[in-house]
């Protein structure tokens, strides 16, 4: 029941019925990560979708440098409680395109990507609802990013 209510708080699963949530919660496990640890690593296979219950995670992308072997990490977003991480577990090619670094002690609900995909395959209604919410989330993130881009460009131009 606790897992179900935790799932319900996440927009991706908020429109699902209790019985469907119970079904998904059977593939979920609570995990904890220390501050500074890496929750997901860019380039790794996305095996789980994470729902943040507590704490904050910085989303970083490695940007190649002109010189030197290692790329530079750039934070593009900070996600908090009830937000989702690791969408790549649902979307092909199931490879993380970002790195998630825990800024605080983080508690997550990790859902097996393989089992969730199987559930969606067996019940397209779940899939339709989840993907609708996923599109809404991505659209909202895109909108926020556009706003920030505009603001930062304006800010630089007005200085």
């Amino acid at each position: 029941m606790a897992l179900q209510s935790a799932l319900k708080k996440c927009s991706l699963f908020s429109s699902l019925s209790d019985s469907l949530l119970e079904n998904i919660s059977r593939s979920a496990a609570e995990k904890q990560y220390a501050a500074g640890s890496t929750l997901i690593q860019e380039g790794d296979t996305a095996e789980e979708l994470h729902v943040l219950q507590e704490g904050k995670v910085a989303i970083q992308i490695v940007v190649p440098r002109d010189q030197g072997p290692a790329g530079r990490k750039v934070t593009v977003d900070i996600v908090g409680a009830n937000e989702c991480l690791g969408w790549a577990a649902l979307l092909e090619p199931h490879t993380h395109s970002i790195t998630g670094v825990c800024l605080q002690k983080v508690k997550v609900l990790s859902i097996s990507g393989a089992r969730l995909r199987l559930l969606i395959q067996d019940n397209p209604r779940i899939g339709s609802q989840i993907f609708q919410e996923l599109v809404k989330t991505i659209t909202s993130k895109l909108d926020e990013t556009r706003q920030v881009l505009i603001s930062e460009r304006l800010s630089v131009g007005l200085k």
Partner: protein
């Protein structure tokens, strides 16, 4: 640590910089050599001033904004990682959880009962620079610290001094009670005084023990 540290502070919030400066300079010898409100200024200051420690707010913006214009405030970790990589001699502390509760108290010299706390993957304890200095080792990357405010009740704040008073009073009462018994002057009153004295003494010892255990845990 005896000669203090030269520190750079980076936070968009002046009240946060005020609070950290106050706490840091309370420990003798430490000097704030620069303050920054965004990532580019933090990097320039740190590269030019070469401090021993940089304390950075994780929600640090990349650009200086105008009121009401949304900015990305996700630059603190980038600055902390870049400093650790470029200047491995600098101890880097990344502070998190600057919520409205902390910020509203940070800018004032309030006498509200409690203390500003830090948590490094453990129990919350008062912010101490010597602790941060021990945790943030040069070349090891940033240390992640959560800031907060711990409210205290009268008993929590005065546990140690109340326990001392109980120990002295209890000991004194027991001694008087025993002397009354020995002198056979007032045996009933003497016995009652001894019992009360032992009870107060035990309460004092329990208080002292609780304080010591709490201190050890922190």
């Amino acid at each position: 640590m005896d000669q203090g540290l030269r520190i750079v502070l980076a936070s968009e919030h002046p009240e946060m910089r005020y609070l950290l400066k106050k706490i840091i300079t309370e420990e003798s010898g430490n000097v704030i050599i620069g303050q920054a409100e965004n990532v580019p200024r933090t990097m320039t200051l740190t590269r030019n001033m070469r401090p021993e420690m940089a304390i950075i707010d994780s929600n640090l913006p990349h650009a200086v904004g105008l009121d009401g214009i949304p900015l990305s405030r996700a630059g603190g970790l980038d600055a902390a990682q870049a400093i650790s990589e470029e200047l491995p001699g600098v101890r880097v502390v990344l502070v998190n959880n600057l919520d409205s509760q902390v910020l509203s108290r940070a800018g004032t010299d309030s006498t509200e009962p409690g203390y500003f706390s830090m948590r490094i993957n453990g129990a919350a304890k008062p912010i101490l620079l010597r602790e941060l200095n021990r945790e943030a080792q040069p070349g090891r990357g940033p240390v992640f610290v959560e800031l907060g405010f711990v409210q205290q009740t009268f008993l929590q704040r005065n546990l140690s001094s109340l326990s001392d008073t109980a120990l002295i009073t209890g000991g004194f009462a027991t001694a008087i009670g025993l002397s009354l018994n020995i002198s056979s002057f007032e045996t009933t009153i003497g016995l009652a005084t001894v019992i009360v004295g032992i009870f107060v003494l035990t309460a004092g010892m329990a208080g002292k023990l609780t304080f010591k255990l709490k201190d050890k845990k922190q």
